[in-house]
């Protein structure tokens, strides 16, 4: 019995962390955000060399065949560095959908390309994942109409799209029936967008007639976003602790003031159990399907609440400078804020959890 990370998993996180520290330091992330780059090609191709896009793709399709937990651990590392790269859709949700619901031909066409990172596929599931949006995507044979909002990994070559029946389709980004517009959000480190479909040509993933497929894809996305928040929040905590040891006021490091110490202790006390919670949710996805959905809802909802408090408290510990752009701390604050709402905010997720348990 072991509930913890293997040596390989720790190594995986370390290698991604080392790569990002080298290739995607704060200045690089800033440049991506300020110059509105569509793709941080240098960072992305480096991740491709590490095989990250293929992490969650089976070996037979040219991937590494890792577990969702491995993917979540990478997401945690990406979040800890606010890495400006696509991941949740193209490296997790799309491969999962195609592998579980795609025809052999579709798998052969898409999975190797996804694994190499040659193709990026965004996730346009708002019709299925959000309880707020209007103008849902409707399928008419092989044509789609309607609107998808907050499309993840928006700068993509194709999109995984859910219709109002939770069926899944692949749509070419350049199809004449697809109108794309990126959305300006607080989080500039990742690009989300809007798709309007007017009779867009779409290929159905045949297995997705079972609505559970779409639900599993959303579960995976939520777990991965929770992991991203865990990483970002852990960085905000450790930066607050580090800053409080350097910053001197009243002749002492502010980290020696009990008020500051307790703010940091409260962050740690709330955040540390989230690590085990993320592990469990991801492991449930890999090994305990019955437990997956409830854990996915709670892991993302709880991490969103804790992450929000950590983001606020860390900023507070930094004082005025934390509120400015000087340290770039707000990039983490905003990433946590975006993760909180994407694929369902905490209130919606808790409500889903209640219904899953037939409490209502």
């Amino acid at each position: 019995m072991e509930f913890g990370l293997s040596a390989e998993q720790t190594m995986l996180q370390d290698s991604v962390a080392k790569f990002l520290d080298r290739t995607s330091p704060l200045e690089r992330v800033r440049r991506f955000c300020e110059q509105r780059e569509q793709r941080a090609q240098d960072v992305w191709s480096g991740l491709c060399d590490l095989g990250i896009p293929g992490l969650f793709v089976a070996e037979e399709h040219g991937g590494i065949g890792c577990s969702l937990l491995d993917a979540a651990l990478v997401a945690e590392t990406l979040g800890s560095r606010v890495a400006p790269v696509p991941f949740v859709a193209t490296a997790v949700m799309a491969p999962l959908a195609i592998a579980t619901a795609g025809s052999p031909a579709q798998q052969a066409k898409w999975l190797p390309a996804l694994a190499e990172g040659k193709v990026v596929v965004g996730a346009a599931l708002s019709t299925a994942a959000s309880n707020r949006l209007t103008d849902p995507v409707q399928a008419d044979g092989a044509k789609l109409r309607g609107r998808a909002l907050f499309v993840l990994d928006f700068e993509a070559d194709a999109y995984l799209v859910a219709d109002s029946q939770q069926r899944l389709y692949l749509v070419d980004a350049n199809d004449s029936g697809v109108h794309r517009e990126s959305l300006a959000t607080i989080d500039r480190t990742r690009i989300v967008g809007e798709l309007v479909f007017e009779d867009a040509a779409a290929e159905l993933l045949p297995g997705s007639n079972d609505p559970d497929v779409c639900a599993r894809v959303i579960d995976a996305g939520r777990i991965v976003l929770a992991a991203d928040t865990l990483g970002a929040a852990s960085t905000m905590l450790s930066r607050a602790v580090a800053y409080s040891k350097e910053r001197v006021q009243f002749g002492r490091p502010i980290g020696s003031f009990q008020a500051v110490k307790h703010l940091c202790a409260e962050m740690a006390a709330e955040l540390e159990p989230c690590r085990a919670m993320m592990w469990y949710a991801a492991h449930a996805f890999d090994a305990m399907p019955d437990e997956t959905r409830l854990n996915a809802c709670h892991a993302k909802a709880h991490l969103s609440e804790v992450g929000t408090r950590v983001a606020r408290t860390s900023t507070e510990v930094h004082g005025g400078i934390g509120f400015t752009d000087e340290l770039g701390l707000h990039l983490w604050f905003k990433r946590i804020g975006a993760n909180r709402q994407l694929l369902g905010g905490p209130d919606q997720l808790r409500d889903e959890a209640a219904r899953l348990q037939q409490w209502v």
Binding site: D187, V248, L329
Partner: protein, 395 residues
């Protein structure tokens, strides 16, 4: 208990309303606009009628009425109601002028108060430094006397309006060998003086609400000191006193609450109005209760001022509670909007111009700025509850 204002005040209220009806069209639409001439004309008209600088003596360019906080409150109230610019406030008029009237020399009052009231001089405040935030008295920007000039070197931070202000009132260290509180002096100088560089400081909202100001051998005439050498801390605290006295506007919070109510009636989730979700609604009602409590607390403070009653504890908590409440209120709106809540600055789906996200972040800044919540709690526990100060630590 008597929440009626009384006839004298109702008369004033009528006068103000009449004035607004007659002259409201002259008011600058946007106080931040560059049209200084228009701003000044409006300001002078308001002073003439006693709607600005009402209690400032005539010989210093004021209206010369006796101090009456309720009159001031009522005037502000009427201008707010009519959504007419109430005249230019700013740190100079609101905080510096009262301090000058108390502590400056006759020459200084005559020289600085009138043009400040008319907005001929707009001021910025030079207090905080990168290494002197919560511990302001440890500031290190120096001024040494050379002949009949102070030569200022160093850096200030969190200076709002530094880019547009004409003059700065500035706290500097003139007695490096004295204990930290006794080594400071309070200088006034023009922002046009050679050697001053202003660098905007961008915040997480994306706007530059603040600046850094750098001083390199800035030469300030010796006479432009307020109070004696080494008395700067006293002068600065007098200014801060009036700054703390400024209780902020609880109506602003109420307006935001009402906007949030509208939002929750308009926006939908799972087909129903957000307002019909009892979980969101309960969060809204908890906030409403706190908004009401703070409004009544504000009314109590106004009344205490009026009747010279002590309500110091009730005053000390305003900043701590008010900023936290606003931050949470804006945050509920973001949650109520769900994914739409993360949209920012532009775009077809943006709600209320993205103001909920902006204010959510901006009020986190206000929780920190002007004395962090930790400093506020020190003040409340020590001055409000009489608890012991932190013991001095061994050097």
């Amino acid at each position: 208990m008597d929440l009626a204002y009384g006839t004298q005040y109702e008369t004033l209220r009528r006068e103000v309303r009449q004035f607004i009806a007659d002259h409201g069209h002259l008011a600058p639409k946007n106080l931040l606009e560059i049209d200084r001439a228009k701003t000044r004309a409006w300001q002078e008209l308001l002073i003439q009628h006693g709607y600005v600088a009402r209690a400032v003596p005539k010989q210093y360019g004021g209206y010369g009425a006796p101090l009456d906080p309720l009159e001031a409150h009522l005037i502000a109230d009427e201008f707010a109601r009519a959504q007419i610019a109430p005249g230019f406030g700013g740190q100079g008029i609101a905080y510096l002028v009262p301090a000058l009237l108390e502590l400056a020399t006759e020459e200084q009052k005559k020289r600085f108060v009138p043009p400040t009231l008319t907005t001929e001089i707009i001021w910025c405040e030079g207090y905080s430094e990168p290494n002197a935030g919560s511990d302001l008295a440890s500031l290190s920007t120096s001024a040494r006397l050379e002949g009949d000039h102070w030569v200022v070197n160093g850096q200030k931070i969190w200076t709002s309006t530094a880019e547009s202000a004409d003059w700065m009132f500035c706290l500097v260290r003139t007695e490096p060998d004295a204990p930290k509180h006794q080594g400071l002096s309070f200088l006034l100088f023009s922002m046009r003086t050679p050697g001053i560089r202003v660098r905007p400081l961008k915040t997480m909202t994306g706007d530059a609400h603040f600046n850094e100001v750098f001083f390199t051998d800035v030469r300030v005439p010796q006479v432009q000191i307020v109070g004696e050498r080494g008395q700067g801390w006293l002068v600065a605290n007098n200014v801060l006193l009036h700054e703390r006295d400024d209780l902020g506007d609880p109506d602003a919070t109420l307006q935001r609450l009402n906007a949030l109510v509208d939002l929750m009636k308009k926006e939908t989730a799972a087909g129903g109005r957000i307002m019909d979700n009892a979980a969101y609604r309960d969060r809204l009602l908890r906030l409403q209760g706190r908004v009401m409590a703070l409004r009544y607390n504000h009314l109590r403070l106004l009344s205490a001022k009026l009747n010279n009653k002590d309500a110091s504890l009730a005053a000390m908590i305003v900043k701590l509670q008010g900023t936290e409440l606003r931050h949470e209120l804006e945050g509920l709106a973001v949650d109520a909007l769900g994914e739409l809540g993360i949209l920012y600055q532009e775009g077809r789906h943006l709600r209320d111009g993205g103001s909920w996200q902006t204010m959510y972040m901006f009020y986190l800044g206000l929780i920190i700025g002007g004395g962090t919540s930790q400093i506020q709690k020190n003040i409340i526990s020590e001055r409000g509850l009489g608890m012991p100060r932190e013991p001095k630590v061994k050097a």
